[in-house]
Symmetry: C2
Subunit: 218 residues, 2 copies
């Protein structure tokens, strides 16, 4: 009954933040959520099966249901931390900073997330593709509020002539679309580029920096 030490390793989604009593519980909860992330992100909620998640986690199905009450609960746990982490890079956009560097910084952070957490990106994409049945309210509320706020900042920069005139909302959509594309459509990107043109993300970063620089430079 010890272990009150907080975990903050490489876990961006606080997967183990729910009252982690024993070491076994932490290990197994993490294994389950990691397996579930892999399966849900590839097959969507309805396409995923508990047997498959259990197998991937190295547990029996009843044992899996000892740690989570239902398939729904696993999915919800994954989505819960997701939106938060998804928005952090946008929150970090500093109204007091140098406009173009702030926006380019956001682009770079978002692209890094596509490279380092593609499964999370695909889980999110699946949820939105299906009409956001589980996080719809969060989109209307928290997400819209944050975007409106940052859009106002960008509009301010625009008005002051510090960046070129641009629709702030669609600018943000552009950043989302262009960065998440490299995670969500990874197989297509790699198929088109072929094996001889190096890591797609290197070319992507150069291209996106160019693109947004030309778009935003007054």
């Amino acid at each position: 009954m010890v272990n009150e030490t907080r975990e903050f390793s490489s876990d961006p989604f606080l997967m183990t933040s729910h009252l982690p009593r024993t070491r076994i519980q932490r290990r197994n909860r993490r294994a389950i959520l990691d397996a579930a992330l892999a399966v849900f992100s590839q097959h969507g909620f309805r396409g995923a099966t508990l047997d498959r998640i259990a197998a991937e986690a190295g547990l029996s199905k009843p044992n899996l249901l000892y740690y989570f009450p239902s398939k729904e609960a696993i999915h919800e746990t994954l989505l819960a931390g997701l939106l938060e982490t998804w928005l952090d890079p946008l929150r970090a956009l500093d109204p007091a900073g140098e406009p173009i560097e702030e926006i380019l910084g956001y682009v770079r952070r978002k692209l890094a997330m596509s490279r380092d957490f593609p499964r999370e990106s695909r889980l999110f994409a699946n949820e939105i593709l299906q009409g956001a049945p589980r996080i719809g309210p969060t989109l209307d509320g928290e997400l819209k509020k944050l975007v409106d706020e940052k859009a106002a900042v960008i509009a301010g920069w625009s008005g002051e002539g510090r960046i070129a005139d641009v629709d702030p909302w669609h600018l943000i959509f552009s950043i989302w679309a262009l960065t998440q594309h490299y995670a969500d459509f990874d197989v297509q990107v790699r198929a088109v580029l072929g094996p001889d043109r190096g890591d797609p993300f290197d070319g992507a970063e150069r291209h996106l920096v160019t693109l947004f620089t030309r778009l935003l430079t007054p």
Copy 2:
């Protein structure tokens, strides 16, 4: 912008091109494929059920299986025509045309497809998200060949100084990402924009024209 009808009466995927013997067969095949498109695009292959497709098509399940031998067959039929139609706008990019107008034309055509055929876009997105298990070979073959060809054209324009220097492959990715985003992430876009800012696609077209003009103008 091009203005096609949003109803399924304008059949862009030759859904009924398979030996349409009788009038009833044509009507029912079309109804099935239209229903299947709705269900597959929202839930993915494994998440879709024959009962649901049959209900949406207004047929009984056995009757549905009178027209198609299996769930797989329906899905394959949908995907078969999809890639073709998906690539047509890129094929139409004319090497002899005015570079920036050619590329902007491609952007407009692709955005129009997102607006008029969002279900097709989401069906494609689902397939890619799952790792392209059924159209992987087509991506490596036909798609890569076409993109390589058009990328060479764009690189030529770049070399001649008729457009600004840009990575042709990532330019094409940008067009795909930015246009398909408005179909695939429609709910998110509408949630963020709210109800008072008009049709997302109007703002999208203005924004994308601006974006690519600034990116490509030498």
